[in-house]
């Protein structure tokens, strides 16, 4: 059942009404008296719709989305694993969803305890000395982390100027560095897909504030020289930032702190199953070793004799990065998930994520160009089709996946792999699903040779065909305009 659906504004009709609010039970206040004339708005051309209209509109819109609950969603670096329903149930408890951040601490002990114990669990999983759950997403966690690096250097007397970032890095890394006032210096990748150690050696100096590495990196490869890299950086007084978006691969396998990485952000909405929601709310965590611990944003939660309290008494803190304590209801989800899995489950998650990644790699390598022929971690990156076909691009391969019932994998990222096709299966996909996906990708590779138009015309089974993105950017239409009166 799939319907085209107009804008909610186009469903509007004057005088129709959906809302249901109480009649006032207090004396009327004349708007004219309470608010001066120039402060009162004239019109507000919002949609007028009945409750049923609204429910139908958004139900129909929803059915124009693909989601994890439809099928395989192998976006690389996104960890589209199953988002357990029990997490939504616990996050929806009124004892969590209806608490106010300014309530007296005595009335929110359950919430503070949850934050405290989630932090502890994250510290156990990552090996760090402390962490903050204040970041609202991964990039926000990066900002938090790099600001702490900066604070450390400032404390040492010099904020320094440069941030070294591999050419395979996610765009948020250089963007974050820039926001914190650092110049990004790109370090190239080696033939093995990891940091080129010679190039790195040549870049490191006393003006380098730090490195931002992704572990495993965005090629799905573990930086085998990571310990050495950290040592080299520390030798010049630089710090090493770990983008932990790919932490799913490392669960139970290694604690990033043990590798010498000074600071790490996690995407709870990847590794710890809080849903992506079509682009958030996410939830970040920024974890630090002892060096950076003083700079964590305020507040934290501390425990004393079984009682929990907000802790603002952190003189070297970078300050606040969010109005309150981040996306708490997603912290409830992540906590539910971690308590469900326990240590053993966490380790299994990582192990099977890597198993699935390597299985895909091996089964697809005859048809797709394996860029780095080595064991991968939780994801694998191909440089498009192995046997190139006239005029067929990776985008066409990706769009054709739709007609086979799958969400496309990530394409054209990392930037250093031409025609990149980046596939992350996650541990919650079973072998049957992987096999179906493999069969589809092999069939598509075949089609690329025999019937390439099938790829170029794809998708044909989605609610819309390929869209004109050029015009969208050139002549942006970004909002509905009320008809002129």
């Amino acid at each position: 059942m799939q319907f085209d659906e107009p804008l909610i504004f186009e469903r509007s009709s004057p005088g129709r009404r959906g809302y249901s609010l109480p009649e006032s039970d207090v004396p009327d206040v004349a708007l004219e008296e309470a608010v001066p004339a120039h402060w009162r708005r004239d019109d507000l051309p919002l949609p007028e719709a009945s409750e049923l209209d609204v429910v139908r509109h958004f139900t129909r819109l929803s059915q124009r989305n693909y989601s994890i609950e439809h099928g395989f969603y192998p976006l690389g670096s996104c960890t589209m694993k199953y988002n357990p329903k029990v997490n939504d149930a616990t996050a929806g408890l009124p004892g969590f969803s209806f608490i106010h951040p300014h309530q007296p601490e005595s009335t929110i002990q359950g919430a503070l305890s949850l934050i405290y114990h989630l932090s502890q669990a994250i510290m156990k999983i990552t090996g760090y000395a402390n962490c903050s759950l204040q970041p609202a997403a991964g990039a926000h966690g990066e900002l938090c982390g790099v600001l702490m690096m900066r604070a450390h250097h400032v404390k040492q007397g010099n904020p320094r100027r440069k941030m070294i970032i591999p050419d395979s890095a996610h765009g948020t890394n250089p963007a974050t560095a820039a926001m914190c006032g650092y110049d990004s210096i790109e370090v190239p990748s080696s033939a093995r897909g990891t940091v080129d150690m010679d190039a790195l050696a040549g870049l490191l100096d006393e003006d380098v504030a730090g490195l931002m590495l992704t572990v495993p990196n965005t090629l799905g490869l573990f930086e085998q020289d990571i310990v050495e890299i950290c040592r080299m950086a520390h030798d010049v007084g630089a710090l090493v930032y770990c983008d932990g978006a790919n932490m799913n691969a490392l669960l139970g396998a290694v604690q990033p702190a043990a590798l010498g990485l000074d600071v790490l952000h996690l995407n709870l909405h990847k590794t710890f199953t809080t849903p992506h929601g079509g682009g958030g709310p996410g939830a970040g965590a920024t974890c630090v070793n002892e060096t950076l611990e003083p700079y964590l944003p305020v507040p934290l939660v501390r425990e004393e004799d079984g009682a929990y309290a907000w802790d603002y008494d952190r003189p070297d803190s970078i300050g606040r990065i969010h109005s309150f304590y981040g996306n708490f209801l997603n912290q409830v989800r992540a906590y539910t998930y971690i308590r469900t899995l326990g240590g053993e489950g966490i380790e299994r998650a990582g192990e099977y994520a890597v198993l699935n990644g390597n299985y895909l790699k091996e089964r697809l390598r005859d048809a797709y160009a394996l860029r780095y022929d080595r064991t991968c971690m939780h994801e694998v990156v191909f440089a498009g089709l192995k046997e190139k076909a006239e005029g067929v691009r990776t985008l066409d391969v990706a769009k054709r996946m739709i007609d086979y019932g799958f969400h496309p994998s990530t394409v054209y990222f990392p930037l250093i792999v031409p025609e990149a096709l980046m596939i992350e299966p996650t541990e919650t996909e079973n072998k049957d699903t992987l096999d179906e996906f493999i069969d589809a990708l092999l069939a598509i590779a075949e089609e690329a040779q025999t019937t390439p138009e099938k790829l170029k015309e794809a998708p044909v089974s989605a609610p819309v065909r390929r869209l004109d993105e050029t015009t969208a950017a050139r002549r942006p239409n970004l909002r509905w305009e009320p008809p002129s009166p």
Partner: protein, 452 residues
């Protein structure tokens, strides 16, 4: 319990296909000495156990449904209709990624477009993005964008602005050569009464000023005059950033009409319950001329190859995944589902519901203010029009008053002593459409008892 679906036969078959004997062999790139540490976590729980545990934690909290609450100060208990949860929890919305593949994301993309439209209409601006983390980060990004646009480094903000937002702004500004000047925009009389000192803001503007950020209504609940200020700002070549409560925009003049260049705001009150302050929903709208400096995701309407209407994420050249270190911001994941909740709720409210909600806040807060003002030892002190929050001076420190209220089953207002020590007897009282007269009378009775 975990969510790994592999039977041992599957596992074996897969290991065979890969050509390794054990899964452990896949981890050989990790230095052996730190590989596979023992994780010192409590053992896993089954679903009934974890539900029981979380129920227990939840029950250790009081909440604004179980006790009447007069807390606001940046986080509000507005009514969110049941349809919002029913719709946003649909897996299609909840478990999809950022809409990178538009053909499979038309639902999210169209909702984003509708959200942008609503934010524009509410604020009176030309364009809006599809959300920021919260009002604080939205305002911080707006102020820093103003610095880039004007190539100036001074940000002026009245101290009637939400202090947390200003703190966040300072954190965000840390890496830049930018300063924030907090202007005393009110005074405290000897009797504790607050007085508007708004002219000081205009006076602080100079040729170095990149922008002035003001909040409407301000942190204390009242509305400052902005028309004239806007003229002064613009006369100095600076930008006016207005952080507006979208609930108040049900009745208040949209900032676009009095000269705002960027409007930010906190949208959670029209989208999600308080949730200890998160998730929230940062609003960000601006004028067309600043479109290419705007941070965040934007959905645009276009056509598919058959000419059918469709939506895509557009103007991505502003964003980190294309522009990298030159991006307008590092923001990536935003608050899409909260924006969807907002879009659903505002569709449901419509213009009449938006106005009704604001009017209920107005009537109820004024009723509460009148009652409290009449109490011995208490006085309401809000030197300007207000919609839902006002300041009440108390005969004792607010924390003592609040302790008394809690004993009487009421969550009292926000203690302004947290903002400034000399305001430790000033309570910021918030009254929304969800506070019944009975709630208010209960508050007033408990305050009266305290006074006696």
């Amino acid at each position: 319990m975990d969510y790994v679906p592999h039977s041992s036969a599957d596992r074996e078959a897969m290991l065979r296909a890969i050509g390794v004997a054990r899964a452990a062999d896949l981890f050989h790139d990790i230095p052996a000495d730190v590989r596979h540490p023992q994780l010192d976590l409590p053992p896993g729980l089954s679903e009934p156990e974890v539900i029981r545990h979380l129920n227990e934690l939840a029950q250790q909290n009081q909440n604004v449904q179980s006790l009447p609450s007069f807390l606001g100060a940046g986080c509000y208990n507005h009514f969110i209709p049941s349809i919002v949860n029913a719709l946003i929890l649909r897996g299609e919305f909840l478990t999809s990624y950022t809409p990178y593949q538009p053909e499979l994301s038309q639902g999210t993309l169209q909702a984003m477009y509708e959200f942008q439209s609503m934010v524009c209409l509410l604020t009176g601006m030309d364009v809006a993005n599809a959300s920021m983390y919260d009002e604080a980060t939205a305002t911080a990004e707006a102020a820093l964008t103003a610095c880039s646009v004007t190539k100036r480094a001074k940000i002026v903000a009245p101290d009637t602005f939400n202090p947390t937002t200003l703190d966040v702004l300072e954190t965000y500004a840390e890496g830049r050569e930018v300063t924030l000047e907090r202007v005393p925009a009110f005074t405290i009389a000897d009797d504790g009464a607050l007085r508007d000192n708004w002219d000081a803001v205009a006076a602080a503007i100079d040729g170095e000023t990149a922008c002035v950020v003001v909040q409407v209504p301000n942190f204390f609940g009242w509305v400052h005059e902005c028309q004239e200020l806007a003229e002064t700002v613009h006369a100095h070549g600076a930008l006016l950033v207005v952080s507006a409560d979208p609930v108040s925009l049900g009745i208040l003049t949209p900032p676009g009409e009095y000269g705002a260049d960027v409007v930010t705001g906190e949208g959670h009150g029209l989208a999600l319950p308080p949730g200890l302050g998160g998730p929230r929903l940062g609003l960000y709208a601006t004028r067309k001329k600043y479109l290419r400096q705007m941070p965040g995701r934007v959905s645009g309407m276009t056509k598919d190859i058959e000419g059918k209407r469709g939506f895509v994420m557009t103007l991505q050249a502003r964003e980190q995944h294309i522009r990298r270190e030159k991006a307008t911001s590092n923001i990536c994941t935003n608050e899409a589902l909260a924006a969807l909740a907002f879009t659903i709720n505002v569709s449901w409210l419509g213009p009449a519901g938006m106005r009704k909600k604001a009017e209920l806040c107005l009537a109820k807060s004024h009723y509460a203010a009148a009652q409290i003002d009449a109490l011995p030892g208490f006085a309401v002190s809000t030197p300007g029009p207000y919609i839902k929050e006002f300041v009440a001076r108390c005969p004792a420190p607010v924390d003592a008053v609040n302790a008394h209220l809690l004993e009487h089953g009421v969550l009292g207002g926000y203690d302004l002593g947290n903002v400034r020590p000399e305001l430790d007897r000033h309570m910021l009282v918030c009254v929304t459409e969800l506070n019944t007269r009975e709630d208010i009378d209960r508050l007033v009775a408990a305050l009266r008892e305290f006074a006696n």
